[in-house]
């Protein structure tokens, strides 16, 4: 198992280096446009453009440019955004990241727990009212656009029903740092968590239910029943663990994408200044260094998520460990 983990981490590092190189090439080596002009922004003076050229070493060969860029991004961390008047990019991302992470982690916990519950209960009560009801509810959850749900939640909790005992505890829209005020952090995030999770509970519940029902037809389930285990034990101990592969795969993809900035809509609706919101702003302003930084940051999380998922597979299913 240990060697498996080590191999995966090495693999992951290789991929990260590869991605950073590819992102760099896309931004700096696409023929036809002058990266200096793009970085400097739409309304830059020739002086600014020259300064950009010097700072990023754009007259030097590509590999040197790459190293310089990575140096600015990761080592000296003084990558600046010319569009936004010299604003330092890396600190901005560092500030936005915890917000996104808090949002996505919390939502993930909720959707995993409830997704498993929904899947298991639906499979246990297959074809009964409970099963059908859960699947319909899940389908509704999948179909609701997250921004609509978020706005409705805000409508109810911030204005209409804010004064009732139900929602008086809901703070104003925005993020409360965890270290400053844990309770406030929690209160500010509960509703965004639930809103984001609703979408995923539906999908994960359905997928798990389908995999469980398939697993229940396997020979080893028959053996488990023949041992005298109850239906519930068979379902949760034997069928569940063998059905988690799809679930975990999807989770890796979704989690990575969300943390990388995919929770954009939720962040905007709830006034959370996360990486999604940041990327959105950067796209509006065509702030190239910021976009590049957020792209690398996002891909970092996707790659880490996938590597973690691989490691999780190996923990769940020992047959994978040989690879």
């Amino acid at each position: 198992m240990f060697s498996f983990v080590v191999r995966r981490i090495l693999h992951m590092l290789l991929v990260l280096v590869g991605i950073s190189a590819m992102v760099f090439l896309i931004f700096f080596a696409t023929p036809g446009a002058d990266p200096a002009a793009r970085i400097a922004g739409r309304n830059a003076t020739p002086d600014t453009v020259a300064a950009v050229r010097k700072e990023f070493g754009l007259d030097k060969p590509l590999p040197v440019q790459y190293v310089l860029m990575m140096d600015h991004l990761l080592v000296t961390r003084d990558l600046t955004s010319f569009v936004n008047r010299g604003e330092k990019i890396v600190p901005e991302i560092e500030e936005a990241a915890p917000v996104t992470l808090s949002l996505v982690l919390g939502a993930a916990v909720i959707w995993v727990v409830f997704g498993v519950l929904v899947g298991v209960i639906a499979a246990a009560f297959k074809d009964t009212v409970i099963d059908r009801g859960l699947m319909v509810a899940g389908l509704i959850g999948v179909s609701i656009p997250v921004f609509w749900l978020g706005e409705v939640v805000n409508l109810l909790t911030q204005s209409r029903l804010h004064d009732t005992f139900l929602f008086s505890w809901v703070p104003a829209l925005g993020y409360v740092p965890l270290r400053a005020n844990p309770l406030g952090w929690f209160a500010a995030l509960v509703l965004p968590w639930i809103t984001l999770a609703v979408l995923y509970i539906g999908i994960y519940g359905r997928v798990l239910r389908a995999n469980l029902i398939e697993a229940l037809n396997e020979d080893y389930i028959r053996t488990a029943r023949a041992k005298g285990l109850s239906d519930w034990q068979v379902l949760t101990r034997h069928a569940l663990r063998c059905s988690l592969i799809s679930f975990v795969t999807m989770f890796g993809l979704d989690f990575g994408a969300l943390v990388g900035g995919g929770a954009l809509l939720t962040e905007v609706v709830f006034g959370l200044q996360g990486v999604g919101a940041l990327t959105y702003r950067a796209l509006e302003d065509l702030d190239l260094p910021m976009i590049m930084a957020t792209v690398i940051y996002a891909s970092f999380f996707v790659v880490v998520s996938n590597a973690s998922v691989d490691i999780l597979y190996a923990a769940i299913d020992p047959r994978v460990r040989e690879r």
Binding site: E218, D219, Y220, R222, T223, A224, R225, A226, K227, G228, L229, S230, D231, Q233, R237, H238, R241, C242, I316, D317, P318, R319
Partner: protein
């Protein structure tokens, strides 16, 4: 060897398993009765669609489909099993009655070690601590001849070969000292040299553990080697039943004759063509009204339109109306020499 001398451990009377389908009610097991005595190995022989697996699954209460109707009586040590609430049945399942299935490659849960799975069964039935259950699992693996049992207990199923897996499955089935072991084609998927080892193990079960065994197989060689008595099933019914030697010395039912005749002999004269039974076993939807074998039987007559009862002559039961003379003629026609002649 009369039935009274040995105590009977299992008594099945008129077991019928039907399924509700779109095309109507289908009888997969039709009025099967059998008795198993202590320390006895009964072999149930049949091909696909004969109902042999369902019979045995009914004893375990594992006929799960909501469309299944199980009727009749199954008495295990005097206690009626049909209709028993699942909670009670679970105590027996894996405890006093254990079952092993055909394909050892897929019989074990892939994500848990063998030791874990055996210990799980032990703890489901006895109040063992984790450590005690694990020790018991290792001891069982040793008793079924697995080398390095304590190491093997930590292995996952995919790390063991087919033969070892099947031994592991047998060890697991034996973990709570079952009085009755049901084995559904336990050696069919194994190599012949491994099969020999497993059959030896099953024989040991009877002598050392004192278990009774119902062994389902379609291999008459296995039957001859290991069974005390044989029941031949066709289209959900028992068509012949006798002590093994009697069945091989004097097979009576044309289906049994056909089965024995279609085995290519390993020694002696090689027949130019094997006397094969023409046609295929009937689908459960289309079982003939009278004798189910009549459409494929060379000696079928008008009287076969009525279902022949299972009648005993000197302990050898047959569901066929052929007279003893006609049977003898059939035997010599189908089998070059009587099986069993040296």
């Amino acid at each position: 060897m009369s039935g009274e001398a040995k105590a009977s451990i299992l008594e099945v009377r008129d077991l019928t398993v039907s399924f509700r389908t779109e095309r109507g009610l289908v009888r997969a097991v039709d009025g099967v009765s059998l008795t198993l005595n202590e320390r006895e190995i009964l072999s149930v022989v049949g091909e696909s669609g004969s109902g042999k697996t369902l019979t045995v699954l009914s004893v375990m209460g594992l006929v799960h489909s909501p469309n299944a109707i199980v009727e009749g009586s199954i008495r295990f040590r005097g206690r009626e099993l049909i209709g028993l609430p699942d909670r009670e049945m679970r105590r027996i399942r894996g405890g006093a009655i254990a079952m092993i299935f055909q394909n050892p490659m897929t019989a074990l849960t892939p994500v848990y070690t063998i030791g874990h799975q055996i210990a799980e069964q032990v703890r489901a039935h006895r109040r063992f601590s984790r450590r005690a259950a694990w020790a018991h699992a290792v001891a069982l693996l040793a008793s079924v001849g697995i080398p390095n049992p304590s190491g093997a207990a930590h292995r996952f199923p995919h790390e063991l070969s087919g033969g070892m897996r099947q031994r592991g499955v047998i060890a697991m089935a034996l973990s709570c000292d079952p009085a009755l072991l049901l084995a559904d084609e336990p050696t069919t998927a194994l190599d012949v040299t491994v099969q020999a080892q497993i059959l030896d193990l099953i024989r040991k079960l009877r002598s050392e553990f004192g278990s009774s065994v119902i062994l389902i197989t379609h291999n008459m060689g296995v039957v001859a080697e290991i069974a005390d008595r044989v029941a031949v099933m066709y289209a959900g019914r028992i068509v012949e039943r006798a002590e093994t030697r009697a069945l091989f010395r004097e097979p009576r039912h044309p289906y049994t004759l056909g089965l024995l005749g279609s085995i290519p002999p390993l020694e002696g004269e090689r027949p130019r063509r094997l006397p094969a039974i023409p046609g295929v076993p009937p689908s459960p939807f289309a079982i003939p009204a009278g004798c189910p074998f009549a459409p494929r039987c060379r000696w079928s007559q008008a009287a076969c339109a009525a279902r022949p009862p299972l009648l005993a002559e000197e302990g050898h039961e047959t569901a066929c109306i052929l007279s003893p003379e006609a049977r003898a003629a059939a035997r010599s026609e189908l089998l070059a020499a009587p099986v069993g002649a040296t």
